[in-house]
Amino acid sequence: MITLTMNGLPVTVEEGSTLLEAARFFGFPIPTLCHLEGLTPYGACRLCLVEVGRGDKAKLVTACTYPAADGLVVRTGSSRVIRARKMILELLLASCPQSKVIQDLAAAYEVRQQRFRQEYEDCILCGLCVRMCEEQMRAKAIGFRGRGERRSVGTPFDAPSPACRLCGGCMYVCPACQLRCTYHEPEKAICGSCANLSPPCLEKREFDDLMCFMAPCVACEIRKG
């Protein structure tokens, strides 16, 4: 067992726990976006920041990936954490304002302004879909490509992947997709990755009993219309 200090409280957790697990176990709320139980922590969205260490050595780390260690001093809601988190939410709003998940988080942290040039991106590259596909669905059909500004999610060379079983798991976990698929401009409705995968609903013709988890879904609308 490992003993550390969290928000001034000595807490004991199992070896191998992350700071996020420790915090959640003891009831300290930490927002997350790219974390999902059952998938390997990735540390992409940086929302789950906490401050560790003291004085000059204090730094911000992502709770979802940082291992709990003996004697660690952790603050989950310091002003430094909140300031950074608000900026992250502002950046998220600036890029992906349609996402309900992001809107709710921004509201919870009272982010009321967005000072960057407005964009409407349909992916925050959180990597949930990639991990879902690889780790839970065992398909590894999609992955990251490119780096920096050109980083994106998709299949190799954008060709339909033979490994994809059209399970829809990727869309199910996506914090940005759900809204993407009810986007008000039908031709933009389907995101890059689901287009590659052909979402299950597109096959409804053949499989009448197929369950669609998206309601309302513009993909269906397009087909109807």
Partner: protein, 633 residues
């Protein structure tokens, strides 16, 4: 090449090599690293060979092709041993002359380097200020060895350090000695190398440990590691062997970018030769110690220089950093304990062992021992690789070695530490170059890039340039690093286009701080440095760009216009002749007229008007759309 079975055999070989060479026979040394070859060294080699053969000078003149000596400004150059005569910037014809002169024991006076200040010719390399003001522990060895001949390396003391270590037979001593030398990693972070090795030596052993030489070198404009690899690959191999002996590592990897074909070629040859001599591989020198090194080629992503991304890349995965802890010494390549060191760090190891730690630690300052190589580029007279003791001041490098400004404009700042370093103003040139001082001043040591900037450099534009590099090279995993660098670039782009606001400037600063605070690896954590440091020292330039829509350095094209001051124009027509678009009209002795709509801001008229004697300094840069004639509007 016969395999050596013991250290006695090695020493006998070394003796034989030294005895075989007559140091009195003149040696023509031609540096032909990538830089030398690009500027024509291969032609010089061809001519030198032809002349030597044609005039039957084979017994009278020796020829040695080496890696880069560092004075890139003077390439292609030739060095004549034993006198150390130096000839810069040669052509094919001059090479013929030189071979002839060498065979007759003469010096070709008119081809020697000329001091731009005193206009005197200087014969010996060691007397040229560029070399005189350096301390070239690592680089000087590049002059002595042909990188594809292991015998050259052995002749000049190569592998003696390894033999010393093997004869001592004390693993702990190697680590202790490295610790005592105070050597800190040259890859950027400055972590004490001995300490890293101690951790590796202590790490659990089961299934092996790795040693890595990090030769990714992704900083634009930095090429220290490349020249060491190209010029003296055996020193890296020897360093790694010593490290392996001290830490108990079982396998070595040199991670080098594919963009370094010559370095890779020389490394491959060097590894083959070391293996053939029994200095690498199984049962080295009959001592039972085994260690081999393998080359892994990277595809040239900046972020793959970061150690955890490098590990992924070696494993064949995407080069993406991961959370530390666990550190590579705990969990590295394939989960095995791994110590990663920079090329230059490795090159220092044989020096430490040969000289002794105490001797090594005498150079530099107390917590920053030894020498460091910088690649000095930009607006200085002498560009090239310079090696100075740690703790030398920026001014000593820029003025002492670099020879001061390249043109008429004054030096304004230097940028250290590669793309994510910072810009330090000329007022701070007394700052000693060591890890702590640089980071307190808002910059970093990085791997040793040093870009000199003068009055014609716009600091906002500089920050924008580096931000462009970083937004393209961020691996993109951390949202704040990926989007943050994009947004910072976007704001800088607005400012350089005259669309920026003071609120945006505050936002930029706020964002920069958050990116620094919240990114996972060194790239993101330092990505804001170019902005934060220029804001700290050159904030007025930002404000001028925003409030007056003016770029005083006349770099941002949307933010200035050239005008002719009527009272000053002498009507010399010089500007009319240089203008490529015919924007300037007028007749002799009459005031000229500059048509803004045709002007492409190429600066040609400004140059002739302000620096030619008959012109009247009449053309000035003003904020666009202004008709004012003041010089400092």
């Amino acid at each position: 090449m016969e395999r050596l079975e013991s250290s006695e055999q090695f020493k006998a070989l070394q003796k034989r090599i030294i005895a075989d060479r007559d140091p009195q026979i003149p040696m023509v040394v031609i540096p032909a690293g990538t830089c030398g070859q690009a500027s024509g060294a291969n032609d010089l080699i061809r001519i030198a060979k032809r002349e030597i053969l044609a005039h039957e000078l084979v017994t009278k003149i020796q020829l040695r092709v080496t890696g880069c000596h560092g004075f890139c400004q003077a390439e292609p150059s030739v060095l004549i041993e034993p006198e150390g005569t130096f000839y810069p910037r040669l052509g094919i014809k001059q090479m013929t002359q030189i071979v002839e002169a060498v065979s007759e024991g003469r010096v070709v006076e008119q081809l020697l380097w000329r001091d731009p200040k005193t206009h005197k010719r200087v014969q010996r390399e060691a007397d040229i200020p560029f070399f005189r003001n350096q301390r070239r522990t690592i680089l000087a060895r590049n002059e002595k060895v042909d990188p594809i001949r292991i015998y050259d390396y052995i002749e000049h003391g190569g592998y003696a350090a390894l033999v010393k270590v093997l004869e001592q037979g004390n693993r702990r001593w190697v680590v202790e000695e490295t610790k005592a030398s105070g050597l800190r990693g040259r890859g950027g972070a400055g972590f004490p190398t001995g300490l890293k090795w101690e951790l590796l030596a202590k790490a659990r052993d089961g299934g092996g440990k790795f040693l890595v030489s990090n030769a990714d070198e992704g900083d634009p404009g930095a090429y220290m590691d490349r020249s060491v690899l190209e010029g003296n690959p055996q020193s890296i191999i020897e360093g790694m062997l010593i490290g392996a002996y001290g830490t108990g590592a079982t396998a070595g990897i040199i991670y080098v970018r594919t963009e370094y074909p010559l370095a890779i070629k020389h490394l491959v040859i060097a590894l083959q030769q070391a293996r053939a001599l029994g200095l690498l591989g199984e049962n080295i020198l009959g001592t039972g110690f085994s260690f081999d090194i393998q080359i892994v080629k990277g595809a040239g992503a900046f972020v793959c220089g970061e150690e955890t991304a490098l590990i992924r890349s070696v494993e064949g995965e995407r080069g993406e950093p991961r959370q530390r802890p666990p550190y590579p010494v705990e969990q590295g390549i394939y989960g095995k304990p791994t110590a990663i060191n920079n090329v230059e760090t490795w090159a220092n190891i044989p020096v430490i062992i040969s000289q002794g730690a105490a001797e090594f630690a005498r150079i530099g300052s107390p917590h920053n021992t030894g020498t460091k190589i910088f690649s000095l580029v930009g607006k200085v007279k002498n560009t090239g690789l310079v090696e100075v003791p740690m703790g030398a001041t920026i001014g000593e490098i820029v003025h002492g070695v670099g020879g001061g400004p390249a043109g008429r404009a004054e030096i304004k700042a230097v940028q250290t530490g590669g793309p994510s370093g910072g810009c330090l103003p000329a007022a701070m040139f007394d700052l000693p170059i060591d890890y702590e001082s640089l980071s307190a001043a808002g910059s970093i040591m990085g791997s040793g890039g040093m870009i000199v900037m003068d009055e014609n450099t716009c600091m906002v534009d500089v920050a924008k340039y580096f931000m462009k590099f970083l937004k393209d090279e961020s691996c993109g995993k951390c949202f704040t690093c990926r989007k943050g660098t994009q947004r910072m670039w976007e704001i800088l782009d607005d400012i350089t286009a005259g669309k920026g606001t003071l609120e945006q400037l505050d936002l930029l600063e706020e964002l920069a701080q958050v990116v620094k605070d919240t990114s996972m690896c060194g790239l993101g954590q330092t990505a804001a440095n170019p902005i934060l440091s220029t804001l700290r020292y050159f904030r007025d330039e930002y404000v001028t760009h925003i409030e007056r829509k003016f770029c005083p350095a006349t770099v941002c094209r949307d933010l200035f216009a050239y005008r002719v001051i009527a009272e000053k124009c002498t009507g010399c027509t010089l500007c009319i002749r240089v203008c490529p678009t015919g924007a300037i009209t007028g007749t002799k002795k009459e005031v000229h007229n500059l048509d803004q709509s045709k002007c492409i801001k190429c600066r040609a008229c400004f140059e002739v008007c302000n620096f030619d004697a008959i012109a009247g300094d009449a053309i000035i840069a003003v904020p666009p759309g202004r008709t004012s004639m003041e010089r400092n509007p």
